[in-house]
């Protein structure tokens, strides 16, 4: 198995952080066309899928294969890189290690045995009636506001309005964005589902940095949030299961 690549530090950092917010170890699929991953959080509540094509890299060479990585360690190591640095990645198959180089620094990271990591989940196929495109920072702002009153929030579409609301024991918060404040909105019917803020808050760290995210919603159904990165050469998708609305 061969894997040798050079990539912009910022792109790599954003990619790994988007994943590590949900899982701290994961198996990446390597192929000549790029790298990809699907991983589910331990409680089976949230899922992340990720793709980065080979042209997102400054140079890229890989055969088919897979490697298990401790993402928390990787994030820690990448913390040493400046935004403008290039990061070199090279797999040593015999020592079972990944060498990471940046401006003279060279780290060797032990790989994890993919069989010790959770198997890649099957993505459930969902038919979600509402689809909203907006600035990621708007969602992040809503999540922050909701956290002040509750541990869960509702997201939904009502006519031409995308709304987010959270009710605590005594207080509540509601944020509405009309169609003209959004990049795009289409809905074949009303949608509303309740989600855990623990998860939304983790996801919104990555979402807040993105100008354009697409949110798909149903009625008491999982939420799907997709966005592009690395000038369209990378793709991240989150799936989060809903909470049950209490009476």
């Amino acid at each position: 198995m061969v894997f040798r690549a050079v990539i912009d530090a910022d792109v790599l950092k954003n990619s790994i952080e988007a994943i590590s917010t949900l899982v701290d170890e994961a198996t990446f699929k390597l192929s000549p066309g790029g790298i990809s991953l699907k991983a589910v959080d331990p409680a089976n509540v949230a899922m992340v899928s990720f793709e980065l094509t080979s042209d997102a890299f400054d140079s890229y060479e890989s055969t088919e294969g897979e490697i298990g990585l401790d993402l928390l360690k990787l994030v820690d190591v990448l913390g040493m890189a400046d935004r403008s640095d290039n990061v070199g990645l090279e797999l040593n198959e015999t020592t079972h290690k990944l060498t990471i180089t940046m401006r003279g620094l060279s780290y060797t990271l032990s790989l994890l045995d993919p069989s010790s990591i959770r198997k890649e989940p099957k993505v459930p196929s969902l038919d979600l009636p509402a689809r909203v495109t907006l600035n990621g920072n708007e969602l992040r702002r809503a999540v922050k506001a909701a956290e002040k009153v509750s541990d869960h929030m509702a997201l939904g579409v009502d006519g031409d309005v995308f709304f987010m609301e959270a009710k605590g024991d005594t207080d509540q918060v509601r944020l509405e964005l009309a169609k003209d404040e959004l990049i795009h909105l289409e809905a074949s019917g009303p949608a509303r589902s309740l989600f855990s803020l623990d998860y939304l808050s983790d996801m919104s760290k990555a979402l807040g940095k993105v100008n354009e995210i697409t949110v798909c919603l149903g009625k008491d159904y999982p939420i799907k949030i997709d966005f592009m990165m690395a000038d369209g050469k990378g793709k991240v998708g989150y799936l989060l299961a809903p909470r049950i609305e209490s009476e």
Partner: protein, 584 residues
């Protein structure tokens, strides 16, 4: 294998208190369990992951477990905590909460025994930074897939609270019925368990390879043998009778029973089969030097000791050596120990547990080269209650708890895991605690060893007998001297050293140096005991026995104001003994 099957058996076992019914449920469970899994099923059924001697136990902090339950159920931690306070059982609370999950999951897959065991094991092994979060996740992974009933047992297990009350013997019964002709197999299976202390492994061997493999079961160095235990009696005559009229009377050292497994490395197990190797690096080093065999399993008693005088110290001293993770080196220095070996169960491929006691002792002597830190136990073979009695007094005087009488006949094989009349404890009924200090006269001195080379290791101390106008010995005094005092002793005593016993001294002991009775020292002891070697109070309490001070200690006060004739009298010691005698 689905975890639900295991939970079904748990529910059945929980619902009964009858051992036979319990056994029946286990038999069914074992028969349905794939042979590869049966070890794990056995461990899990006892709320364990491994046999005890491995030392990996479940016991996740409940606060962390609640965090997992909160993640999986969607209920807040405070809500779960108040539910738990109400039910008093986190397992029940988990089941209740998960009956009405607030959080939907994306996927569900049935829990398997493999998966449950795997995650529980990772939780138990996780240490260091980040391990708390890892534990929370691993448990949430199980709870996310668990039915309410499954969650109940997962939760009990992970917090170390799964108590189905399935005893070792019940599992042995069930294994015998499930995999072999019960009656014939039962004792063979138990034997394998007694020789390995590992029920899971025995179950796996039986399920995979049948009873034949169990019959051929061999001792493995590194797996503890369940210790043979002793009964107790309070009459010497009865003891000698029970052991067939003649027995080996052995010092019952007041220390920590240790089973040492020697190969290229040493593993030490306690009486309860905990691995205590890490707490006794000094014992390991000493054993490596002393044992003349490639592989061996020996048993002994680890006793705290005063290195300079060779005296045994009170048992409490050894507690400083137990359960330590840090400061082991310091504790080794501060609380040195001697290992007194008393049995030999295995040497270089040869299982000696079937040999009789004296043969095992011969083999022990063959492979052990005694050193300052490794010795072979004191023992006499006798059929005479008087010999037994005075050996007992000597044992007490030397700091032992009493004697162990061991049968030496044809039935004296090592009965692993059994308590029987082949070994009988004899301890004291009475104890005479010493409350006041006494003033004793130095009449002799023993040469020092180790750090005390060049000065004295201990002094021979005596009480005064005004009737006969002589001094009668009552103890060897080695403790309580500071370095400065010790260094001064040879100069101090120089003019008082004499060649032979002083005419006014009555002593059975022969010290290295005799002294003219002149110096009076204040001494405090733990108690006054009967002694076959000291002359103070001879025949006063019991024919042939004198009195001795046990664990004597110099208070640091030289009674210069007292002449030797002003020292505590023999009569006073006798009175103290009688006055302070209490039933143990």
């Amino acid at each position: 294998m689905e975890y639900a099957r295991l939970v079904g058996a748990y529910e059945n076992i929980d619902a009964t208190t009858k051992r036979l019914e319990m056994t029946g449920h286990l038999v069914e469970l074992f028969r349905e369990t794939p042979p590869d899994l049966i070890d794990r099923v056995v461990y899990l059924s006892q709320g364990k992951l491994y046999p005890d001697f491995v030392g990996i136990e479940m016991g996740m902090d409940e606060k962390l477990a609640i965090r997992s339950l909160s993640l999986s159920s969607g209920y807040s931690e405070s809500k779960i905590e108040s539910e738990w306070k109400r039910s008093g059982d986190l397992g029940l609370t988990a089941a209740e909460v998960l009956k009405e999950r607030k959080q939907v999951t994306l996927f569900r897959e049935p829990l398997t025994v493999e998966k449950v065991y795997g995650n529980l094991e990772k939780i138990a092994r996780a240490t260091g930074p980040g391990s708390q979060y890892l534990k929370v996740k691993l448990l949430a992974d199980l709870l996310g897939n668990a039915s309410p009933d499954e969650a109940k047992y997962v939760m009990k297990a992970v917090t170390g609270k799964l108590r189905l009350g399935v005893a070792d013997m019940t599992i042995l019964d069930a294994l015998a019925i499930a995999f072999a002709d019960a009656k014939e197999a039962r004792s063979e299976i138990e034997r394998a368990y007694n020789l390995s202390s590992d029920l899971g492994m025995v179950a796996g061997m039986l399920a995979k390879h049948g009873l034949g493999a169990i019959k051929d079961f061999k001792i493995t160095v590194g797996k503890p043998i369940r210790p043979m235990l002793a009964e107790r009696l309070t009459s010497i005559e009865e003891i000698i009778e029970k052991t067939g009229g003649r027995c080996a009377a052995e010092y019952k050292y007041d220390g920590l029973r240790v089973q040492a497994h020697v190969s290229s490395e040493i593993t030490l197990f306690s009486r309860r089969l905990e691995n205590i190797t890490g707490q006794f690096p000094d014992v390991c080093d000493a054993l490596l030097k002393s044992i003349r065999a490639k592989e061996a399993i020996v048993e002994g008693e680890c006793v705290p000791v005063n290195v300079e005088t060779g005296e045994m110290l009170p048992f409490q001293q050894i507690s400083h050596r137990r359960g330590r993770k840090h400061g082991v080196r310091e504790a080794v220095e501060e609380f040195p120990v001697i290992l007194f070996l008393f049995d030999c169960l295995y040497v270089d491929g040869e299982d000696l547990t079937g040999e009789d006691l004296l043969n095992r002792r011969e083999r022990l002597k063959e492979i052990v080269e005694e050193s300052a830190r490794v010795k072979i136990s004191d023992l006499v073979v006798t059929d005479d209650p008087r010999v037994f009695g005075s050996f007992f007094e000597k044992a007490i005087g030397d700091g032992c708890e009493g004697l162990l009488a061991k049968s030496i006949g044809a039935d004296s094989r090592y009965r692993a895991g059994a308590r029987g009349w082949q070994w009988i404890k004899y301890k004291r009924d009475y104890k005479s605690e010493m409350i006041d200090t006494i003033d004793l006269v130095a009449v002799g001195a023993f040469a020092g060893r180790g750090r005390r080379t060049g000065t004295y290791g201990a002094l021979l101390m005596a009480a005064y007998d005004p009737d006969e106008d002589v001094f009668k010995t009552v103890c060897k005094l080695g403790a309580g001297f500071d370095d400065e005092t010790l260094a001064k002793l040879p100069t101090l005593f120089k003019e008082y050293l004499i060649e032979h016993t002083h005419p006014r001294v009555r002593s059975e002991l022969k010290p290295d140096y005799w002294l003219t009775p002149s110096f009076v020292l204040e001494v405090l002891g733990a108690e006054i005991t009967l002694s076959p070697i000291h002359t103070c109070g001879l025949d006063a309490i019991r024919e042939g026995s004198g009195l001795a001070i046990r664990f004597p200690r110099f208070t640091g006060t030289w009674r210069d104001d007292k002449s030797p004739e002003d020292a505590t009298t023999v009569q006073e010691v006798v009175e103290m003994y009688e006055r302070q005698l209490k039933r143990v």
